[in-house]
Amino acid sequence: MKQNVSALLVGVGGQGAILTAKVLVNGLVKAGYDVKMSEVHGMSQRGGSVSTQVHWGEKVNSPVIGPGAADIIVAFEKMEAVRYSNFLKPGGVAVINDYEIASSTVAAGLEQYPDGCLEAMQDHFTCHVLKAGEIARSLGNERCMNIVLFGSMVRALHMDDIDWETVVAETVPPKFRELNVAAFRAGYNAVGGQA
């Protein structure tokens, strides 16, 4: 039996991680996997660091994992990749958006945004780095950045047994259907498959 897979989607409140997780779980449920996902609402959503966990396989028990147990991290912001890097298993995969959002403490000059986030991740994990913000903008709407990243995640995990374009189209609001399918394709093509 194939092992269960644990994914962490991390970013900054408002970046669309929850919608991305919804696309992911819709596809997984359709494909017949047992799926559990966990998200946190409330205060942490106000511009803070956010994480959504998705776990799938034949039978999933816990909807949350601790450090050292994630197979893949999809980071919507590069410092958030570093923040949650201890959740990745050694040898895990990271899909990282080369995109920087200053935290309020950085903006206020109280702390310094760290240098070398991408390099530090690349030194330790199999990383797929892309400029999802630029790709999304070239498609006409920066807000589809999350689905660009999702396309890369699908490629990185070799999840080709599921018709993701249909799942994306069914999950997003109708008027953003074409945009998001294009975003998915662009993200998928932006990274190479896992070595």
């Binding site: 998200e39 106000r46 511009g47 994992i65 570093v82 890097s85």
Partner: protein, 586 residues
């Protein structure tokens, strides 16, 4: 039948619907809120509402039970503190229609002021308690809770935690079973909680609980998973899922769903079958203490601890000493705390408070708790819902006793004012407090995700409702001066504060501007920009604590994606380097 992916909250709402519930009342609170956001879907079959607070919600739902229908109320863990008074007496009196109280606890305080373990309420009030461990159980156990409540004539406590309420898992839905209202007959001996009746009702309750305990030994909510004889685990709620992942495959489990009263016979039989017994539970050793008190040897809290939530890796590490292998990438992420949104109306008020370092500001629970974070740092205390006015009152009285001259403000939002702030507003008048109460009226219950309240003009079902006016209430209480001010106009905001201080009698301030995230209102959205040739890089604009402003290459810069054009930063800029595009500045 195909399965759907539901959160615990969605599934609990579905379970209540399927159980034939007719009357539902709640006050929003993370992580319980979405139960009631689901219910309007079933409005053809039931009545649901947002109550002004949890005590009201529990009483309304209990009244419906007395009148003969199945009823539901829900709240976050600290909400049950507010509703504890009717809870204890409802236990004595019992029910007519099935009555379920949901308490959603928040281990690790994802969005709460404490992580109290509400299982103790079941023991303290003598209530059967049911704890689901995934969404399917949220649905199934909710239905079982109503059966239990009616069978044993007792309210049932239904306890979830954040990871139950906000996790999604697959659920098979069923059909609704209607329960005809039980014909109403006045029954004073049962429902009038006067001493003579309470004297009878207490021993009756103890007898009921002894029967429920007996029932627990055969109740299908308590499940044996017998495998090896070496290790046995007694567990419940989300801890069951963690333990399933953390313990070896041949571990035997006693998985409890009815967790109070504990099925002691079942537990001692299980204990006798295994060589080593563990009790795996989050927060307090609620089950472990009772199991040990029954003379059964077990291990739990000495390894697992009673602080913060658990996860499978943590359980494995603490029980077996097996630490998951992690990688240190060598770079540290800096903190990313939540902040008031760009354009948040609370910003202008807290900026004004922050300017006066000598002011004392007692705060409250809501988005505006963030007024206490850097760089605003404009709060002295936050205790609980409604404490803004009353803690301010106590501080003002203390300063007076100590002969200290201080301007004291009590601050809370509109929803909190209706929740439990009104009594504090009365206290200030009645006992002549030297306090200026401030209501931050953004027309919505913000932090929990935009629920309506008595001041918003809409009800839970989205229909137009009577809109209670805060200024009329304060005036009726005896505030001779009620100042209403738009916080986005910093000069007016400052003037309002000075006018309130200068006023001889009792003055109150209503800081009024709707939350920008309210969808049904058309907001005046724009963009501000910095003229970099004028900006001197003094960083004064950073003092408003807006996530959209930052310093880049020594000059201020505004993130266009985040800015909504509120102009608060422009108003504090000494060089007038920031302006709203299109010239409008308010």
């Amino acid at each position: 039948m195909s399965k759907v992916l539901l959160s615990g909250n969605e599934a609990a709402a579905r379970g209540a619907f399927e159980a034939g519930v007719r009357v539902c009342s709640a006050y929003p609170g993370t992580p319980s809120t979405e139960i009631f956001e689901e219910l309007p879907k079933y409005r053809d079959a039931l009545y649901c509402e947002w109550a002004p607070n949890e005590k009201v919600a529990l009483e309304v739902a209990y009244g419906a039970s007395i009148a003969g229908v199945r009823s539901l109320c829900a709240m976050k863990h600290v909400g049950l503190n507010v509703a504890a008074d009717p809870l204890f007496t409802a236990a004595y009196n019992g029910v007519t229609g099935g009555f379920v109280i949901v308490t959603a606890d928040d281990p690790s305080m994802h969005s709460s002021q404490n992580e109290q373990d509400n299982r103790h309420y079941a023991r303290a009030a003598r209530l059967p308690m049911i704890e689901p461990s995934d969404s399917q159980e949220c649905l199934d156990f909710m239905k079982a809770a109503y059966e239990l409540s009616e069978r044993f004539d007792v309210p049932v406590l239904f306890r979830t935690t954040t990871r139950i309420a906000h996790s999604k898992s697959l659920v098979e839905e069923g059909e609704r079973t209607e329960h005809a209202p039980i014909p109403y007959v006045r029954n004073g001996k049962k429902y009038i909680a006067a001493p003579a009746n309470a004297m009878r009702n207490h021993p009756k309750l103890e007898k009921i609980m002894a029967e429920v305990q007996e029932y627990g030994n055969e109740c299908p909510l308590n499940r044996l998973e017998l495998k090896g004889r070496k290790i046995g685990v007694i567990t419940a709620s989300i801890a069951y899922q963690y333990a399933k992942d953390a313990f070896p495959a041949d571990t035997s489990f006693l998985k409890l769903g009815l967790t109070y009263p504990l099925p002691m016979k079942l537990i001692s039989e299980f204990a006798a079958k295994v060589e080593k017994l563990y009790v795996v539970e989050e927060l307090d050793g609620f089950m472990e203490d009772q199991i040990k008190a029954a003379g059964i040897d077990c291990v739990g809290k000495e390894l697992l601890g009673n602080i913060y939530e658990l996860n499978p890796q943590l359980v494995r590490q603490r029980v077996f000493g097996e630490q998951a292998e992690t990688v240190d990438v060598g770079v540290r992420a800096v903190s990313r705390p939540p902040a008031l949104c760009p354009g948040c109306p609370h910003r202008g008020f807290f900026y004004t408070m922050a300017k006066h370092k000598d002011f004392v500001v007692a705060g409250d629970i809501g988005c505006y708790t963030l007024g206490g974070t850097p760089p605003l740092n404009a709060l002295d205390s936050v205790v609980c819902m409604g404490a803004g006015f009353t803690v301010a009152m106590g501080m003002a009285k203390a300063f007076k006793q100590a002969g200290i001259e201080k301007k004291v403000f009590g601050v809370m939002g509109d929803s909190t004012f209706f929740h439990s702030g009104m009594t504090g507003a009365a206290e200030i008048i009645y006992n002549d407090g030297d306090v200026i109460p401030v209501v931050l009226d953004n027309s919505i219950t913000g932090m929990t995700g935009h629920q309506d309240n008595p001041g918003s003009g809409f009800n839970l079902e989205g229909e137009i409702a009577e809109k209670l006016k805060i200024e009329d209430i304060l005036t009726a209480y005896g505030y001779q001066k009620v100042i209403i001010v738009d916080p986005q106009d910093l000069a007016a905001m400052e003037q309002a504060v000075q006018d309130a201080i200068a006023f001889e009698g009792h003055a109150a301030i209503i800081v009024r501007r709707p939350c920008l995230l309210i969808k049904r209102i058309k907001h005046d959205i724009g963009k501000c920009a910095v003229d970099r040739s004028v900006c001197i890089g003094c960083k004064k604009c950073l003092s408003v604590g807006c996530p959209a402003i930052m310093i880049k290459d020594g000059r201020a810069e505004i993130d266009r994606a985040q800015c909504v054009g509120c102009t608060v930063c422009a108003q504090v800029c000494p060089m007038r380097a920031i302006s709203r595009e299109g010239g409008e500045s308010k």
